[in-house]
Symmetry: C2
Subunit: 298 residues, 2 copies
Amino acid sequence: MPPGATEAEFAAWMGSIQRRVENVLARSLPAPQHAPARLHQAMRYATLEGGKRVRPLLAFAAGEFVGADPARVEVAACAVELIHSYSLVHDDLPCMDDDRLRRGKPTVHVEYDEATALLVGDALQTLAFQLLAERFASDDASVQLAMVNTLAVATGSRGMAGGQAIDLEATGKTLSQAELEYLHVRKTGALISAAVKLGALCAGPCPAQLEQFGHRVGLAFQVVDDVLDAEASTATLGKTAGKDSKRGKPTYVSTLGVARARQFADELRRGAHAALESFGENALRLRQLADFIVLRKF
Amino acid sequence: MPPGATEAEFAAWMGSIQRRVENVLARSLPAPQHAPARLHQAMRYATLEGGKRVRPLLAFAAGEFVGADPARVEVAACAVELIHSYSLVHDDLPCMDDDRLRRGKPTVHVEYDEATALLVGDALQTLAFQLLAERFASDDASVQLAMVNTLAVATGSRGMAGGQAIDLEATGKTLSQAELEYLHVRKTGALISAAVKLGALCAGPCPAQLEQFGHRVGLAFQVVDDVLDAEASTATLGKTAGKDSKRGKPTYVSTLGVARARQFADELRRGAHAALESFGENALRLRQLADFIVLRKF
């Protein structure tokens, strides 16, 4: 077994990245006492002490894979996490999913109010781009610009926000597997792929195999999310379970059933491994993360 | 009288910039037939054929002043206008100002729906940063990064979004003139100052006098907005008039009264002129714009 390959070693690595990301986010978010204090407190409430930090973990694993300086990767990782955090706050709003529970806590509009939640999401998105533009994510300004652009493409109307719009239109309809993939590649996959790519860009151009890995892991993440929404409990998830079917949202479970959805997720996991086949032990953390994402219980 | 100084020449200059900005925005926004079509149509509905384009005009005037290439300035000008457009869509939402009329048309959430309006604002913000990062706004990538950063600082929780948050908290309260200035410098002034600065950055560092000009014009814009909200009609404004006092929002009119608010706007206009005193005819368009902003009737 190669060094670092045990479950305990992987868990320790994850823990160390998660703590590092928490620290960088805490430093990067405006201080809670600075005006406008309520907005800044709500931005911190939405972002800190929550989540598995899957996107930052992928950015760090990709960065380690290409030999990037972790002090650069942490900027990219946190920018992606801020975008993710903004998207959760806006998705939970009454006009979207109208959700009251997130990461085991009341959602931002429940804890604060709707207008504040709207501004929190808006300002978290801005902060992501500000971080990438001001911090030293690369020693080459043109690479840093490419990172801003990569994050923007993954976030905007052809990426995550576009996926949300397609999701809204698809509610109550039955989608084919191809249509579902089109939707989820945008809604969830785009930002997860961007996390992998940004981690790699901290050291240089992103290898094509890594882009393929990111694409497969991004889709696998959403397939597993659909399965967990159908099978797990609200207490385990820290967010409302069973909400997709209640809302008539097309998911991999509604299209394929649970058993075939699980099987599809495992195919994607093996496809993600296969994309990195030629790299051997260098790709250990990436492979472990693909397994973690597909085999997780929450 | 210097060349270009007549009212007709200024009007012709404004018209040519406004048409140019309209064309660049129309090209930069995703095509209306591209998926997700409804989102893309709503993004265009929110942005095209509307407004005076005050921020792009200021960016172009600042760019002309420092001798920047207009092909670069147009990128910066459109990025700022996309941020402005996003902010209007979110401000009009029911949880914020709950407004049904904007630029003489139904607001985005009325014409489409609330969830779409939320995503439109989100995606317009992203597109602004994407434009600045991918288009050739400067021949120096590090200057381009500084432009992304300038726009982000003006837009985020210490700038425009922060101003909105302070505005929410101040509703129903009486503010001193100093508190009101603190609010409006963020809510409106930050993005107007950024427009001036970004136009200048297209050619190099922004002269301090130009930053001072932007600051004064930004505040003057809001003082005049407050006066017009109190005095003009809904038909003239193309948006609901008299809404500030109806909502108990502190304004320059509620704090100073109409006469002193007008007087303060004119002081700021003269202060903006004074900032550019040493530049003579080179600053003609900037001075004309300061006059236009303060003397406008809508």
